[in-house]
Structures are given as structure tokens and as C-alpha cells.
């Protein structure tokens, strides 16, 4: 911190006109970015105000989403099923993607010869370039039948008799459910986590590794004692970035998740709904003011969920880093 202040003072002292112009230029750039974000939040808040005023906290806790007024059912917007679907699919994706990504990252950077490692990493990172609607179509026509016909019945056979876990796989396997949504997301966030983890593992100082090897450590010991502890914070950060992508992902999930907000059950085999897919599905046809306002509020809630995840992950990383530094000292 103090170093930054010193640097700044140094810059003012230099007082070179071109330097000042450049400082003003970059300051403007960052101000524009900040203004964009602030303006975005203000716009969301203004447009969602009618809904916020009418439904208040019920919006976050209610689970009825009824845009059409009838004799028996009043117009009512409660986003809980969407929030639940967003969190569950993101966590499923994280649980599936992190070990895969980390395993490949370690293999590529530590074990594989470079003629193999580089192409493998390249191919996996290529997954980033696939548009999400392509994942969605593949998901709908390939993954969904596979989940319905093979994976889900298998999971029911294996887990169906274990007390707590059986609740996760209850109900008829439709193939379009929270689990499939999570699987598609896992595939989509895999390259993000992988490429970041690889970079981080590559940053581990050679000295650390060589020191371990000099002490006669095996490859596994080097990995587990020198590389992974050093890279832990960064890897968690990478996973959290993947999670952030999963939370906001829209098209691919929409096509495989079943888009049903009827009820929240513990089963991963329930057709569900995420906040992002609810917005994508309903935004264009939200034809009353309250409906439109509720959809915009969903955007605000999505921002909130993403922020909560983001802050949590930052706290987690800083906690881990702090502990490590403490251990080193």
C-alpha cells in the first residue's frame, strides 16, 4: 500500500505533461468502466422498482411465478426456484469440473512430455471458443438422451439404496433436469479452470521443486508438498472464476434444464430453472409492467448471487493465502 502511494507521489513530482495526459487518459477509461457498472445497476434498480415495492422480500423467498391473473391465482412473482436452480447447477458443475480440470492441469504441466501436453492443453482450451448455444444443441440432442437412458438409471441403481443419497436421485429420469444442466455447465467451465490452474502451477518457482527433489522426494511428494500448497490459492481462485461463469451461463442450460419452476425438491432429477434462463425465456414476452419489472429484478438478483459467490471466494482465497504465509513465517 505504502509503495503505491510513494509511486503516485513520484508520478506527480515528475509532472511531465505527456505523463499527466496519459494518467488522465487511463483515469477516464476506468471512470467509464465504473460509470457503466454503476449506470447498469441503477437502471436495473429503477426498472425493477415496481416489483421490489410490491413483492419486497417475498420475491426472494416465494416459489410461485405466475404472470397471468386468474380468478383463483393472482399475479405473483417469487424467484426462489430460479435462485435454487442457479445455485444447485453451479455447484454440481463446480464439483464435476474442478477435479477434471485440476487433474488435467497437473498432468499437462508436470507429467506429460511437452509433445503431448501442449496439444492436449490446446484442445481443451479450444472448448472455450465453442458458442454456448452449440453446447445447448449438443446437450439437448446427445447429452439429454444419454443422461436419461444410461447415466441416470445407473445412478438410481447405485445410489437408490443409500439412505441420504437416494433423495438426490429420486423421481423418474427425464434427462432434462438440474443434473444435466450441471453437467453441461461443468463441460463449459472446465477449460477456464484448466487453463488458469495450468498457468498457476507453471508459476511455482523451480527452486521449490528442485529443493524437494534434492531432498530425495518422489514426484508425488514434490507435487503434494511443494507445488499444490503453493498453487492452492490460485487454483481455488480459478475454480471460483469457473463458478462465476456457470452462474451467468444462459443458453446451454436453458436448453437442457427442463425450464420448470413447479416445486423445489432435493432430487437432482427434477426439471429446474436458473435465473439466467428465466430471463432469457421470458424477457421478450414480458408484456405487463409488473412482469417486466419482475424479470429485471431477476437480473438484479443474479447480480446479487454472483456477488455473494465472488465475495465468498475472495474471502476463501485470502484466508488460505494468509494461513500459508503464516505457516511460512
Amino acid at each position: 500500500m505504502s509503495r503505491i502511494i510513494m509511486l503516485r507521489q513520484g508520478a506527480t513530482k515528475a509532472a511531465d505533461p505527456s505523463d499527466r495526459r496519459f494518467a488522465a487518459f487511463v483515469a477516464t477509461m476506468s471512470a467509464v468502466v465504473i460509470l457503466l457498472v454503476v449506470g447498469f445497476i441503477i437502471l436495473l434498480a429503477v426498472d425493477s422498482w415496481p416489483s421490489i415495492r410490491k413483492f419486497g422480500g417475498h420475491f426472494l423467498t416465494g416459489s410461485v411465478w405466475n404472470p397471468v391473473e386468474t380468478e383463483v391465482n393472482k399475479v405473483n412473482f417469487g424467484a426462489l426456484p430460479f435462485i435454487y436452480g442457479t445455485i444447485v447447477t453451479s455447484i454440481v458443475a463446480l464439483i464435476l469440473a474442478t477435479p477434471l480440470a485440476l487433474g488435467s492441469a497437473i498432468f499437462v504441466s508436470e507429467y506429460a512430455p511437452s509433445w503431448l501436453g501442449r496439444p492436449v492443453a490446446f484442445i481443451i482450451e479450444l472448448l472455450v471458443a465453442i458458442p454456448s448455444v452449440a453446447y445447448g444443441i449438443w446437450g439437448l440432442f446427445v447429452l439429454v438422451p444419454f443422461m436419461r437412458g444410461t447415466i441416470e438409471p445407473f445412478l438410481q441403481n447405485v445410489l437408490g439404496h443409500i439412505p441420504v443419497l437416494s433423495a438426490l436421485v429420486a423421481g423418474p429420469p427425464f434427462g432434462q433436469d438440474l443434473l444435466t444442466g450441471g453437467v453441461v455447465l461443468a463441460i463449459m467451465i472446465l477449460p477456464t479452470i484448466l487453463s488458469l490452474s495450468r498457468e498457476i502451477i507453471a508459476q511455482v518457482p523451480r527452486l521449490q521443486k528442485e529443493g524437494m527433489l534434492a531432498l530425495g522426494a518422489t514426484k508425488w511428494e514434490v507435487l503434494s508438498q511443494a507445488v499444490l500448497p503453493y498453487a492452492k490459492g490460485g487454483i481455488i481462485g480459478a475454480a471460483m472464476l469457473g463458478l462465476a461463469r456457470a452462474i451467468g451461463e444462459t443458453m446451454a442450460v436453458t436448453m437442457v434444464i427442463g425450464n420448470s419452476s413447479q416445486k423445489i425438491t432435493g432430487s437432482l432429477f427434477t426439471p429446474g430453472y436458473t435465473i439466467a434462463s428465466a430471463i432469457a425465456n421470458q424477457f421478450t414476452e414480458a408484456d405487463t409492467q409488473m412482469y417486466f419489472s419482475a424479470i429485471v429484478e431477476l437480473g438484479l438478483v443474479l447480480l446479487l448471487v454472483a456477488s455473494v459467490f465472488n465475495v465468498t471466494s475472495r474471502l476463501l482465497v485470502s484466508r488460505i493465502m494468509a494461513r500459508k504465509e503464516g505457516a511460512n513465517a
Binding site: V68, E285, D287
Partner: protein
């Protein structure tokens, strides 16, 4: 496909016999006129977008007026015209009184452009070789979508479809997940025929579905039905025809089992009394030859226009759509407007004014 073509040919023949070739009033708008705006913008419904795109490219080539149409959905169309950010809006569902009252530019007219039908489709492996399509009544369809009938061998279904007696499977109900005019027509039909549906779910572009999976877009619903055994869904007729999905018969309000032919769709408009503002849902028509699940799709324009150049271009465009344009509908698997609907639409078009005088040019306005 062949069947539809044959039926279309028949419709064309019948039409030719009664009204002699094209719709009277066609061929009056053939070239651009001075004082006419060269650009118009519109936004709204996705369902008629294919037809509109064809119309507007033809119109630009012939008349020299460019129409920029954004298929952003009916809700977006209503919002855009209400906020006056476009010259015309488009919607598959009629605007509600509240929405009309909220429009910033005064009174909005609903001018019908074409008609669409929504059809039930299904996937039952046991029946894949059967030539006999399933038959649904208003009761069975609404009960399935309410979750009251949950199995294919329900006695109510078996009564009309003996082939289902042995299909002891749960019904997988598929609906649209995105808001759409297709859902509007479907839920309007269910509301019209089922009191329980009207009271608990209602009609709209998107509703709270009591049961089922949501597929995104017609392709999402068709995809779900195609690959999910024992599924039932609903799609636009053109979509079912193009994808060779089995299309069920539905009993109309006169008690006749109907196939959704183009003729049966057009007939629906003849069985209902069309109000003068044409803001009407045409589901459950009383015409004995009508397919019961149909609706108009409308272009929304302000009755009081402010810009003479735009008003002239817009009224001439709508005239062309209502007359010359109808000939394109059949090829693109839309049902053309029946003659009396066109007549009423022309009355509405004539009522458009700009700065107090009629916007439609005299040579069109005086056409009888």
C-alpha cells in the same frame, strides 16, 4: 406436406371460384409515390416473422420502401409501439385494455395480417407404425395439461383412442418455456374450453404451467417430443408439417374430428363474430369445419399518425399486406385471412388519420 399442398390447392380453387383470382384490391400498390417515407421500422412477434420478411423484401423491391422488422417477440412489439420507438408493432395476442390505455401515442389499432394454427403432437413408440393419429377432445387436452390425466391409458383417452389401452405409461407434458404467441393461442384455447384452466392458469404468452417440461422455442418443444418417449407437446402447424411430426386430431366445438388443414384454419375466422376492432381470440370456433386452436397475428398501428410521409407509407404497406401479400401466405404455411376479416381490416385501415385527415391515399380509400 403433400396433403397440405393438396388442401391449399383446393382452398385456392374455392377462393378462385368465389372471388375470382387474387383478392380484390390487389395490384393497386405497384410503385412508390412522392411524399412517401422510404423507411419504416417495426418490431414484435416472431411467429409471422418468416412471412413478414418475405413481404418486406418483396415490397422493398417493388415499391422501394424499406421496412426494417425486428422479430423481438410480441411483448417487445407491444412495448416498442407503446413507447413509440417504432412505426408499427406486431403481436400474436391481442393487447389487453390496460396495455391499450398505457400506449403513449393514443388509440392503437389491431390490423390482422395472417392466421396461425397450433397443433398437438406426441411420441408414443407403440403407435409409431400406426396410421391412425391420436384423437383429443377439449376435455382430454385440458386434463393432460392440468395434470389431471397422467397416464396414456386413462379411460378418457382410451374412449377415443382404443389403441392406447395397453400404453400403461406416464405422459410427459412438454410446453414452451419462452413466452410466445403459440402458447398464447394454446392457453387461450384451454381457457375457452376448460373452466378449471381459466380459473387457475389462464391465458397468456407465458403462464405458470401446472405440469411438464419447458422447451425453448418451437424447435425446443419439437426436439423434446421427438426424443422423449410418451411425450405430448404443441407446436405451430408449419413446424409440425416441416418436421413430419404426428399431428393429432382435435374435436371442435361442433363435435367434428378435425385435422389442421389450411382450410380448417381459415374457417375458424368464419365461425366467430368478428368484432369491429378485430381484437378477438379465435379459439374454439363454432364453425363445424374449423380447426379449434387458431389465432390472428396483428400489426399494431396508431390511429392518429403525426408524420404525413410515414402515415402514407405505412397505410400503403398495410393495404398491400392485406391484399397482394395474402398470396404469399400459403406457400410459407400460414393460413390466409378470410375475406370478411380483410374487409373489416380495411375499415380499420381507413380510419387511420394524419393531422385530422385520412392517411390512406384516396385511390385506395375509394376502392370498393
Amino acid at each position: 406436406m403433400k396433403k397440405i399442398v393438396a388442401v391449399l390447392a383446393l382452398v385456392a380453387l374455392v377462393a378462385a371460384a368465389t372471388i375470382a383470382q387474387a383478392i380484390p384490391g390487389s395490384g393497386l400498390v405497384t410503385k412508390g409515390v412522392s411524399g412517401e417515407a422510404k423507411n419504416l421500422t417495426g418490431a414484435g412477434a416472431t411467429f409471422p416473422a418468416v412471412l413478414y420478411t418475405k413481404w418486406f423484401s418483396e415490397y422493398a423491391a417493388k415499391i422501394g420502401v424499406q421496412v426494417n422488422y425486428q422479430a423481438i417477440g410480441s411483448g417487445g412489439g407491444i412495448k416498442s409501439i407503446s413507447d413509440m420507438t417504432v412505426d408499427f408493432g406486431a403481436s400474436d395476442g391481442p393487447m389487453t385494455d390496460d396495455q391499450l390505455a398505457a400506449a403513449k401515442g393514443g388509440h392503437l389499432l389491431h390490423i390482422p395480417m395472417t392466421m396461425g394454427a397450433v397443433v398437438p403432437t406426441y411420441n408414443i413408440p407403440e403407435l409409431s407404425r400406426s396410421k391412425q393419429v391420436l384423437k383429443f377432445t377439449a376435455d382430454t387436452l385440458s386434463a393432460i395439461y392440468l395434470g389431471d390425466i397422467i397416464k396414456w391409458n386413462d379411460p378418457k383417452l382410451v374412449a377415443d383412442n382404443p389403441q392406447l389401452a395397453k400404453v400403461d405409461k406416464y405422459i410427459v407434458v412438454v410446453h414452451r418455456s419462452d413466452g410466445s404467441g403459440t402458447s398464447n393461442i394454446w392457453t387461450s384455447y384451454l381457457s375457452a374450453v376448460s373452466e378449471k384452466w381459466a380459473k387457475t392458469v389462464g391465458a397468456g404468452n407465458s403462464v405458470q404451467w401446472p405440469v411438464g417440461l419447458g422447451g425453448k422455442g418451437n424447435e425446443g418443444v419439437a426436439g423434446n417430443v421427438k426424443q422423449t418417449q410418451y411425450a405430448i407437446g404443441y407446436v405451430e402447424e408449419a413446424y409440425a408439417v416441416q418436421n413430419t411430426l404426428p399431428v393429432a386430431q382435435v374435436k371442435n366445438s361442433a363435435g367434428t374430428w378435425m385435422d389442421p388443414t389450411a382450410k380448417a384454419v381459415s374457417k375458424a375466422a368464419e365461425g366467430v363474430t368478428l368484432p369491429d376492432d378485430l381484437r378477438v381470440k379465435m379459439v374454439n370456433s363454432s364453425n363445424p369445419e374449423a380447426w379449434p386452436i387458431t389465432g390472428f397475428t396483428w400489426i399494431l398501428v396508431y390511429q392518429q399518425q403525426n408524420d404525413p410521409a410515414k402515415a402514407l407509407a405505412l397505410t400503403r404497406l398495410l393495404w398491400w399486406n392485406l391484399h397482394d401479400g395474402q398470396a404469399y401466405a400459403e406457400k410459407l404455411l400460414y393460413a390466409p385471412l378470410p375475406v370478411d376479416a380483410i374487409a373489416k381490416a380495411v375499415v380499420l385501415l381507413k380510419s387511420v388519420t394524419v393531422n385530422g385527415s385520412q392517411a390512406l391515399p384516396p385511390e385506395l380509400a375509394s376502392f370498393k
